[in-house]
């Protein structure tokens, strides 16, 4: 197991503590030394049991190709917006009550009474817009850079699924405050789904939990919004990022590889 080695501090030779000789110090362990090594030994302890340092190094110290620019940060920015939704969503769920009679009240309580409630709700609400914008920008980047071509086709397909799920998130979330706007917009939205061929009517019935907008519709939307889709999104992001690490991100399409100078010399 390789051990981390920190560089020695730039001190004059005499001030540097001499390395201890074997057999010195009567075999007692200096508690100060133990404390100094605590960080490394904790990492070592975990690594000894999990062998995670290999994968961690594989992720962190892989090379990103020459020319990687700011457009390549859009994917991780999307990821960050998603994390913001997850964290603020957990706090909102502590107050939210998905019953038609109490939903509006619970959101009103969050907005007007709970400590920082409106702020957190605002972060969740505006965070959704920011995430949608970032997903589209990230998709535009990969599209115009031709990043969906061999060997990254599968990553593009996972990406399209993530796009649809992100839109589904915002559709199901819109109903939850149960105010006039969200209620009627969702009714129209579900009706539009119902006009679809073949599965349309079934999809609408599934969303409404029956032929009409009823008492269980809201809890169904809530379950889809905070369990079903987030679970799917997290799984797919995992696969997406695994492939990104495995295949590496594309170099900007304009770059041509000039053969390494040292190699060129050898060839001559």
């Amino acid at each position: 197991m390789p051990k981390l080695k920190l560089p020695a501090p730039p001190l004059p030779g005499k001030l540097n503590p001499a390395p201890r000789r074997p057999g010195e110090g009567n075999g007692k362990v200096d508690p100060l030394d133990v404390a100094k090594e605590a960080g490394t030994s904790a990492v070592g302890w975990v690594d000894e049991r999990t062998s995670l340092s290999g994968p961690a190094r594989w992720v962190m110290f892989r090379k990103v190709p020459k020319g990687t620019n700011w457009f390549y940060t859009l994917g991780s920015a999307t990821l960050f917006a998603f994390l913001n939704q997850a964290v603020t969503g957990v706090f909102l769920s502590m107050y939210y009550d998905p019953s038609p009679t109490r939903a509006y009240e619970s959101i009103r309580y969050v907005t007007n009474e709970a400590f920082l409630g409106e702020f957190v709700r605002g972060m969740h609400k505006w965070g959704s817009s920011v995430m949608v914008i970032l997903v589209f920008l990230h998709m535009a980047r990969t599209f115009f850079f031709g990043a969906y071509k061999y060997p990254r086709e599968l990553n593009w397909i996972i990406g399209v699924a993530l796009l649809i799920l992100t839109m589904a998130m915002s559709f199901t979330g819109y109903l939850l405050p149960f105010d006039q706007r969200s209620y009627w917009a969702t009714i129209v939205g579900v009706n539009i789904n119902g006009t679809g061929p073949l599965v349309g009517p079934y999809l609408s019935d599934f969303l409404r939990a029956g032929p009409d907008f009823g008492a269980t519709t809201l809890s169904r939307f809530y379950a889809i919004h905070m369990l079903l889709i987030p679970g799917a999104i997290i799984t797919l992001i995992g696969a997406h990022l695994y492939l990104v690490t495995k295949l590496g991100t594309t170099a900007p399409p304009w770059l041509k590889a000039e053969p390494d100078e040292r190699l060129a010399e050898e060839q001559a």
Binding site: A81, T111, V130, F143, G146, V160, F178, I187, N191
Partner: protein
């Protein structure tokens, strides 16, 4: 891409990758800067714009605006652009489904080895066209707030029936104006010309009973107003009376 092109790409890529920098700390630093920008944007939006909560949902309501979140505007606008009712399912489900399938399959029908956008004129212009179309539709959707007023004059035939009829006509006009019908229908000068048909001369086309039946049991995407009928029958009948007076030569 055939096998030679694939191998050429992989070779080229491995050189560019070898000449690159390690993900940590170089890419991580950029990503962190971006993360801070994202967080700052969200926090600023939240503080400046807050989180409004409209009036409580009320199925019997007469004042609502069926308006989706802004990034769905382009879908809603598609409904308006495509008029004939036979084509409505095409607009609502067909176009998005086709777009999704095209997106999913993109790597399978665009297989050329070229990656530079300026050397892929079809892909690049299709992309730019899609972005422009979505931007335009979103703009249209944002600009078209459903109006809540109807300036249709009281027809002479109603005035001839006496003040009672005029009162009923105006009451119905009020209800219709406040019920969000204008988001999807045009009445006289007001409202949007789609996705629903124009209602200015609706009584020429269908009788009062048929109008009432449509309101209770409409074809989607129009929402049903059956609970309005149950909870406040006067408003409902005023609405039907008003609509059944909208005929030509009145």
């Amino acid at each position: 891409m055939n096998r030679i092109e694939k191998e050429r790409y992989l070779r080229e890529y491995s050189v560019l990758k070898a000449q690159g920098k390690p993900f940590f700390p170089y890419a991580v630093a950029k990503d962190s800067v971006m993360a801070v920008v994202v967080m700052a944007t969200i926090i600023t939006l939240s503080i400046v714009l807050g989180a409004e909560l409209g009036p409580k949902a009320d199925p019997t309501t007469t004042t609502y605006t069926p308006r989706p979140e802004w990034y769905f505007f382009f879908l809603f606008e598609l409904l308006r652009v495509i008029k004939p009712p036979e084509l409505v399912p095409l607009a609502t489900i067909g176009v998005p489904t086709i777009c999704m399938i095209l997106l999913f399959l993109l790597p399978f029908y665009d297989r050329g080895p070229e990656r530079r956008p300026e050397r892929r004129p079809i892909a690049t212009s299709a992309g730019i066209f899609t972005i422009a179309a979505m931007g335009y539709l979103t703009y249209l959707g944002a600009a078209a707030g459903p109006p809540t007023q109807i300036s249709e004059p009281t027809p002479a035939s109603v005035i001839a029936q006496g003040p009672q009829a005029v009162k009923q006509f105006n009451a119905g006009k009020q209800v219709v104006a406040q019920s969000g019908c204008l988001a999807c229908h045009k009445i006289g000068e007001n409202g949007n010309s789609g996705p629903g048909p124009e209602l200015t001369r609706i009584a020429d086309r269908i009788p009062a009973q048929a109008i009432a039946r449509t309101l209770v049991n409409p074809t989607s995407p129009m929402p049903s107003f059956s609970s309005l009928k149950q909870k406040s029958p006067q408003k409902f009948s005023a609405m039907v009376d008003f609509l059944s007076q909208l005929k030509s030569g009145g």
